[in-house]
């Protein structure tokens, strides 16, 4: 199914490249270190849908959040669209325009309407006029079936609706790549489907995506590549077919045995 996704050729042009990424925390009691990431190399090409899986505490969220510098790497370098975001002189804020992010807990701005949530960044950061920004926002809302909720406040929406708004809010900045940090983990089960549907649409539309998720069905169906992380390192990566049907490493096998 959905041959149109997994068979589509990756352009080979790189979107994000990560080299030797490490993130170490000092433990709260001051003794010893936690190695959330312990030397990760990964490249995400334009047009790819990369799904990152792994047990909790494996560092997969840390990896994703490092890509747009929400987590500051202890070591290693990251390039976004050819520019090094980890460089001391890099304009991190401008590079973040290229990356839309969707959070587990939606993080919509509760003091603004849905429409304002979507237009504030384009208007303030891309200097779009209100008409331009609202026109695009309404078009996106229509696509995800929430046109009639444009004037609502986030509190008035269900979890699934909130997450759909959060996705289109990120899209309003016209990013080149979308980062998803467990987008369905905080949702009631019956709302997971509607959010995954929006993400699948996005993938079919050719958006470059990096997604941390526990939805193995989604990974199988949509991913062009699956990365398995444990203990802060990439243990195994490959196509969904390789990963789910012929896992090589023991750790991936035991992980899949637990979650599938």
């Amino acid at each position: 199914m959905n041959a149109d996704i997994s068979d589509r050729p990756a352009s080979g042009e790189e979107m994000i490249r990560v080299e030797g990424l490490k993130k170490h925390y000092i433990k709260r009691n001051g003794f010893g270190e936690i190695r959330a990431l312990d030397g990760v190399d990964v490249t995400i090409n334009k047009g790819e849908v990369v799904v990152i899986i792994g047990p909790s505490g494996s560092g997969k969220s840390t990896l994703l959040r490092s890509l747009n510098m929400l987590e500051l790497p202890t070591e290693g370098r990251i390039w976004v669209d050819g520019e090094e975001i980890t460089d001391r002189k890099a304009d991190v804020n401008r590079l973040r325009h290229k990356m839309g992010m969707v959070f587990q807990h939606f993080n919509l701005f509760p003091h603004m309407t849905v429409l304002r949530n979507m237009t504030i960044a384009p208007m303030k950061l891309r200097k779009e006029t209100q008409e331009e920004a609202e026109a695009r926002a309404m078009k996106l809302l229509e696509k995800v079936g929430l046109k009639d909720r444009a004037g609502a406040y986030p509190n008035q929406l269900s979890g699934g609706q909130k997450q759909r708004v959060a996705i289109v809010r990120a899209l309003c900045m016209q990013p080149d790549v979308m980062l998803f940090d467990e987008p369905t983990s905080a949702l009631d089960p019956e709302m997971v489907g509607e959010v995954l549907e929006v993400m699948k649409d996005l993938a079919r539309g050719g958006m470059t995506m990096a997604c941390v998720t526990h939805e193995m069905g989604f990974a199988r169906e949509v991913a062009t590549r699956v990365i398995f992380i444990d203990g802060g390192r990439i243990i195994e990566e490959g196509t969904p077919d390789q990963m789910f049907n012929h896992p090589q490493s023991e750790r991936l096998q035991s992980f899949l045995a637990k979650v599938l």
Binding site: R96, F103, H105, N107, P110, H111, L125, N155, M173
Partner: protein, 248 residues
């Protein structure tokens, strides 16, 4: 019996006339009220300015310090120094009594000044700033961290994220506490008499000293304070309801 009641009322009327009408003594109270309001209002303004600055420095240090430290350089050292300075300010101001601060300001720091009112405004402003700073900082820190991250992830810089996203939400959180602080400030200005300012309390006390009857002037003063505070509380609750309505 009837006579007794009549005499009682007459007594009250005489007392009232003596305390407020004779020699236009009500004007003393009015002037006192004016001074109390001037001190409170200006002190609140100064306090908010100081409070916002100190809270920004402290919460920026808490939130963004790691990023700044990693970038390193001279800027971070300067910033650390300001953070330290803010901590000293908070410790000293919150650790000493308001009256003592007022006396020190009036008799030591501004000993050459004859404008007691301005000295009081500055003292109360500096004092209130310390409390407001901690209220604002508490508010900023209690806005969900995800809000800050969402703003940064969209590409807003630190200041923009604060202005568009965190501070509007902070304001709603701290409003009741803020109201509390304003009420405390209004009543705290009652010690301004220590440095020779005729504020509301002092005015009432002077009337008492002149007429040798304590009841009328002091109760009047208490009622005026009560009225002020009730008015303020009402205004804040209206504001609160308006802010809440925005979300439903």
């Amino acid at each position: 019996m009837f006579d007794a009641i009549k005499r009682w009322f007459q007594g009250i009327a005489e007392d009232f006339t003596d305390n407020f009408i004779t020699g236009d003594r009500w004007k003393w109270l009015l002037e006192g009220l004016k001074n109390t309001l001037i001190i409170s209002l200006l002190a609140v303004l100064i306090g908010i300015v100081i409070g916002v600055i100190v809270a920004s420095v402290r919460s920026t240090y808490d939130k963004n310090g790691e990023a700044m430290r990693l970038r390193g350089g001279f800027g971070f050292k300067v910033f650390s120094f300001f953070n330290w300075l803010c901590n000293v300010y908070l410790t000293v101001i919150r650790g000493t009594p308001m009256v003592v601060q007022l006396l020190i300001m009036y008799f030591i720091i501004f000993a050459s000044s004859t404008n007691g009112l301005m000295v009081a405004v500055i003292s109360f402003g500096i004092n209130s700033g310390a409390y407001l700073a901690e209220i604002f900082r508490g508010g900023i820190m209690s806005v969900d961290g995800g809000q800050f991250e969402a703003g940064r992830a969209l590409g807003f810089n630190y200041v923009q994220t604060m202005i568009y996203i965190v501070i509007p939400q902070m304001f709603k959180i701290v409003l009741p506490t803020l109201c509390n602080e304003f009420i405390a400030l209004i009543k705290e200005t009652a010690v301004a008499g220590y440095v020779g300012i005729r504020d509301l309390t002092k005015a009432g006390d002077e009337i008492r000293g002149r007429t040798f009857s304590a009841f009328m002037p002091l109760i009047a003063v208490a009622l005026i304070y009560l009225g002020l505070v009730m008015l303020l509380t009402k205004l804040v609750s209206l504001l609160e309801r308006r802010l809440r309505k925005n979300e439903r």
